[in-house]
Symmetry: C2
Subunit: 215 residues, 2 copies
């Protein structure tokens, strides 16, 4: 008696959901939101279309999950390299800034993904929530690094001032990141991290340029 091979494989919900999220992300990155249809996502995940509705109550929910995943991943990729405890605060800040302005964080695919999602933020409250949360999460980490670097340098600033620094530096990084991703050929390699270090340094009054050139 030959038992015919299984027609599909059952996966735990958590794993399958993540697989679907990853398929969604790669699809959006390649073809934009427009290309990320339920059918196409299912095909890429080697699954039939009905399964998506089984795991996510609607397509919007899947998109939200993908958005959340992508933003966390970018924040992590920017934060991780600066988490070496032995380095000075200034050097950690410099690494943070530079990491956000070179691949894989600063990259056409990433920016394109982000732009695709930004669209839906206005329509969908859940997306708005994720947007707000990831924005403040990123900015708070940056503010903490700035604060440590200033203390280390013996500079005293008011909380208000610190907040303004964080907003400004965040904007500068975001702006450079976005432009680097949306118009890659307009900048030479290494140019954006360099500009980022100089600008953030100028804004908060510290020279980050020396500290930022890490392998």
């Amino acid at each position: 008696m030959t038992q015919n091979p299984p027609k599909f494989r059952r996966e735990p919900a958590k794993q399958r959901k993540e697989a679907l999220v990853l398929a969604t992300l790669s699809l959006i990155a390649e073809q934009g939101v427009r290309g990320a249809t339920v059918r196409e996502i299912a095909k890429r995940a080697n699954v039939t279309q009905g399964l998506i509705r089984y795991h996510f109550s609607s397509k919007e929910e899947l998109i939200s999950a993908a958005y959340s995943h992508h933003m966390s991943s970018m924040t992590d990729l920017t934060t991780a390299p600066s988490a070496k405890d032995n380095a000075s605060a200034k050097s950690r800040l410099a690494i943070f800034v530079a990491s956000g302005l070179k691949p894989p964080v600063c990259d056409p695919n990433s920016v394109s993904l982000w732009a695709s999602f930004l669209n839906k933020v206005r329509e969908d409250p859940q997306m708005q929530q994720i947007h707000k949360q990831t924005y403040f999460d990123f900015r708070d980490r940056l503010e903490a690094l700035i604060s440590e670097a200033l203390i280390e340098a013996g500079v005293v600033v008011s909380p208000q001032q610190l907040r303004h620094y964080a907003i400004a530096c965040n904007a500068t990084i975001d702006g450079l990141w976005m432009e680097g991703g949306a118009l890659p050929e307009a900048f030479e390699p290494g140019e954006l991290p360099e500009i980022g270090l100089r600008s953030v340094g100028a804004i908060i009054g510290l020279d980050l340029h020396e500290a930022g050139e890490q392998p």
Copy 2:
């Protein structure tokens, strides 16, 4: 013999095209790209759907025209207030920066419109062309103002340095603009122009703060 009233009015192509573009923009601003269907646009412009295809060879072409219109409009709104010839270069730069960071330029609708379009930039070469053109147009104007302000202050910088300044200041303005539009409740009124002036000033080494408080 009563002659029944005309069923529609003929407009010159140019006017009708602009009306369609404006209908498209208001629709996208309200409901996002997804809501801007051919039928809905036609309805808003008090026209039947077929007319769109008559004036624009495809929907994409209409979208491109709307994108171009919106970006030019934003650049103009940022540039115009700084064009008073009698003011000093520094003051004109300050006004430029501040104008871009308050309404109507810095505004949820504007940002949302921009984000909607950014999506299509990657897919459509024509959109990419418009993106590139409007980006450089804005940045070049900013670079010119920076250059004049530095010369006025007796500061000499290399072309390379000037280019870096323009990229950095542009990124800072864009970043603040975007965040102010995407998360309006996160900033107090007047906070963004103030942060913008301080940051741009810090980056290029001039004190713009004094010069930027215009009515």
